[in-house]
Amino acid sequence: MIKVISGNEAAAYGVLLVQPAVMTAYPITPASRISEQISEFAAAGLLKGKFVNVESEMSSLGIVTGASNAGMRVFTATASQGLAWMHEGLHWASGSRLPVVLVDANRPLGAPDNLVCGWIDTLSQRDTTWMQLYCESNQEVIDTVLQGYRLAEAMYLPLMICMDGVYLSYIAETVDIPEQALVDKYLPPYDPSGRALLGQQVLFRHRPKGPPGPGATGGGPPMGMGSWTGNRYDLHKLALGCIDMAEKVDAEFKAIFGRSYPIVEEYGCEDADTVLVTAGSAVGTSRDVIDGLKSKGLKVGLVKIKMFRPFPVEKVRKALSNRKKVLVIERDISSGQCGIFFQELKWALYRGDGAKTPQMFGFVGALGGEDITPDLIEKAITYTIGNEPPKQEAIWLGLRQEEKDDYDKRTVKVF
């Protein structure tokens, strides 16, 4: 069924297809429409589960964590400040190996207020052991909801689906809504008993049959077996395993629905010397720019990063290590350092083994929802081709020179 819907609605249609038992969301721009659409589905009797109107994001995540702990499929959505308020619960969910699925409409955090688009909200949560998948289009949002449940519930780890606030969450696109029968074929019912095999506490009724495994305790404070460090070693291994599982669930998805979303996608990279790396809705624009530049005879290509956590290091190395130049365009900055995707890429490509590494250019811009236009992308690529990497790690894209000069003049001299 083809519909013209926003990213928020695409997420809600995805939820309709997977039928979680408990859903929560505290309204927040630019993700509010998800909670509205889900309540409408529930009111119409289409969603069998319960949607809870919560009073805060802390409770929003708390309720789905509780329900997941008690063995049910769950969903929540948020953005920006809301995700930040969930922070404590995010660690709690991954530490308990709960396959909570969350959709975040990426938006920066105040101060000052900003209601549009930036990735700092989800990137600030990169160390919470939640998988992070960034989407390019509304079609990818709904498909990633389906893949996300398959992945999270196979790995017993929580997962965040990240879509650009406003650019995807508000803007309507044509979306092919998958058929329920096919979804049922793709996504098996959630089996909570597997958590017990990971040493987690499950309700007694969900204990696997047969002799109890180590740590399959039920009752008692869930400190788990062994040391806390050992617990994190186990979590780290589980997280790394998500990379292969993500490829597996995508292959299964392709076999049933005909669409595929590689966790690291190479576009026009066959003979490329200079490769642009980006994520989110800017990928679509970048595809056009790359096509245009290629037709002019430039050896350029594009790499789209869909999976940011766990970071698919080997895929990234395969796609980028033999290039002459790599540039990153991203909607975030770790102030005082550089863009966060840029950090991860540099780390992935450099091993100190003497191998040749590409020159790296980290562009930072559109942090508060400005458009990443074809013109800006082309400017960044042209700069990369014609220059050596600058000393400073962040190259500011789209910042007006007069405004920049103004800030430079105002900089307080401490010493």
Binding site: V22, S56, L61, I63, W92, F204, G218, G219, G220
Partner: protein, 306 residues
């Protein structure tokens, strides 16, 4: 029996068979890792003796005291939460059980005054407003005792604590959490202490049968934090009631107040003097405290007038 001339809605809860419920099966076994004289162990033990095993409790990091909870060799389910979501996790558990068709098992967050009065209050208020199905046992030890005995909004007036030390005692009166939750119009709210075990257990039994948001506010005496000899726990938990500092009452649907014990109105000193935390309370303060307690008792009697 009471100081007011108005007839009271008064019902003693243990008239028919004192200690009737105490001779019921045990679900809690050692090790119980609390200080000697702590009320925690009794609060859990009596709760389960009254409630039976069809319960999922949600707990927080704290002084422990749950012991080993089992029924017929099966562990009683327990879900751990953080403080800020102490109220929301049980909501989720409760909804999950409902989705599994289990309408019998009761979800009971057994949490402290930190969660109910302070850091988790917003979420408890929200759960009360939505009338989410759970039975809250608020173990009120009038301070953050597990972290070393710091002030909470439940600490009484003029008490010292690790963060209101000698010379700078707490200057605010205890937050009236019962009034706050009663104002939400919840189906059932009650106060209890371990000094009146049959009253406490009757309230647990009664609350178990009600659907929606229920709260039992239990005074949990803390010999370490309050500074009294550990053998005085039961004596002081009775004195808290008899001096009217912590009267026993219940509120149904936020309207119907019932006093469950005819507090004798004994001198406040019987409760206050054995506790080191009240050491800043001088004779003049004592009069102020006395008048505060009596005013609140009058208010309660007014609310419970028949």
């Amino acid at each position: 029996m009471t100081t007011t001339k108005e007839p009271l809605r008064y019902s003693k809860t243990n008239i028919e068979a004192p200690l009737k419920y105490v001779n019921t099966p045990e679900y809690m076994f050692p090790p119980i890792m609390t200080c000697a004289g702590c009320s925690y162990g009794l609060i859990y033990r009596l709760f389960f003796k009254a409630a039976g095993p069809k319960v999922v409790i949600t707990t927080l990091p704290g002084c422990g005291g749950t012991g080993r909870l089992t029924a017929d060799g099966k562990p009683i389910d327990q879900v751990r939460t953080a403080f800020g979501n102490a109220a929301s996790v049980p909501v989720g558990v409760s909804m999950a059980l409902a989705a599994q068709g289990d309408t019998e098992t009761v979800v009971a967050p057994i949490v402290g005054d930190g969660a109910v009065f302070d850091i988790g209050m917003g979420a408890f208020s929200a759960a009360a407003e939505r009338n989410d199905n759970m039975l809250v046992v608020g173990k009120d030890n009038e301070g953050y005792q597990n972290t070393g005995g710091q002030r909470s909004s439940a600490s009484p007036w003029m008490t010292t604590s690790a963060t209101t030390p000698s010379g700078a005692p707490k200057l605010q009166f205890k937050k009236d959490v019962d009034a706050i939750f009663a104002a939400h119009g919840i189906p059932y709210l009650a106060t209890a202490t371990v000094g009146f075990p049959d009253d406490y257990m009757m309230k647990v039994k009664k609350a178990m049968k009600i659907k929606g948001f229920r709260m039992i506010h239990v005074l949990s005496l803390c010999p370490t934090g309050w500074g009294f000899p550990s053998e005085m726990t039961l004596e002081l938990s009775r004195m808290a009631v008899e001096t009217r500092v912590f009267p026993l009452f219940e509120v149904e649907n936020g309207i119907k107040y019932t006093i469950n014990h005819p507090s004798k109105g004994l001198p406040l000193s019987r409760y206050v003097e054995p506790q080191r935390r009240f050491r800043e309370l001088g004779p003049e303060d004592m009069a102020t405290f006395e008048s505060y307690v009596q005013t609140r008792w009058k208010r309660l009697c007014y609310l419970a007038r028949a």
